[in-house]
């Protein structure tokens, strides 16, 4: 119920290509779906996020596509650059009286070849 499943584990993309990372969740109570980017030696940082009442959100080269009925969402990185090489985590959050509880996927290691 609380799991977030992420794929692929690793991804190699040519510079200028499109990187696509997929996630699936089970708990329909989740109401906030962020993506985090983590570089080696650093903590994760929020990249982009979406709420389930929206099917798509775009910020620059990063787009989240959200399919509520399938309980799936994905991150698309357009025109991928070597500087995008990092580990990406999808996550799902639910808000209750204690605040937001955020569950992370296992991560996708992206390498963009120059």
């Amino acid at each position: 119920q609380q799991q977030v499943k992420q794929s692929p584990q690793s991804l190699i993309v040519q510079k200028g290509g499109i990187s696509i990372i997929n996630c699936a969740y089970e708990n329909t109570a989740f109401d906030y779906f962020p993506w985090y980017q983590q570089f080696p030696g650093k903590g994760p940082a929020l990249l982009i996020a979406i709420r389930p009442d929206v099917s798509e959100k775009k910020e620059g080269r990063f787009t989240i596509s959200f399919n509520k009925s399938a309980k799936q969402f994905s991150l698309h990185i357009m025109d991928s650059q070597p500087g995008d090489s990092a580990t990406y985590f999808c996550a799902a959050s639910l808000q209750n009286t204690g605040g937001f509880k955020t569950i992370f996927g296992a991560g996708t290691r992206l390498f963009v070849k120059a």
């Binding site: 992420q6 906030y32 962020p34 985090y36 030696g41 650093k42 903590g43 994760p44 940082a45 929020l46 996020a49 985590f89 959050s93 808000q95 209750n96 009286t97 204690g98 605040g99 937001f100 509880k101 955020t102 569950i103 992370f104 996927g105 296992a106 991560g107």
Partner: protein, 112 residues
Amino acid sequence: DAGVTQSPTHLIKTRGQQVTLRCSPKSGHDTVSWYQQALGQGPQFIFQYYEEEERQRGNFPDRFSGHQFPNYSSELNVNALLLGDSALYLCASSGVNTGELFFGEGSRLTVL
């Protein structure tokens, strides 16, 4: 504006010992969450503190405990350390009504 700060950055302990990790949240944030990140894995939710109380807890044993102080800073305590406790421990702060987490760089714990 200081972000989330954690200390120590690295530490080595032996099995059975106890450890305390510390976190200062981003200015203006009142909620602190702790995560355990094993090598090559995603962060696993340990617990969350707000108003000096543990509000939510993940699937971690009672050996993991915490505290939040009036200035919103927080501590994570782990007793009776096991080899499997070796990981990066991340602290994240947020406003109570926002889902965005701001992470520190973590405390890397090695248990020998």
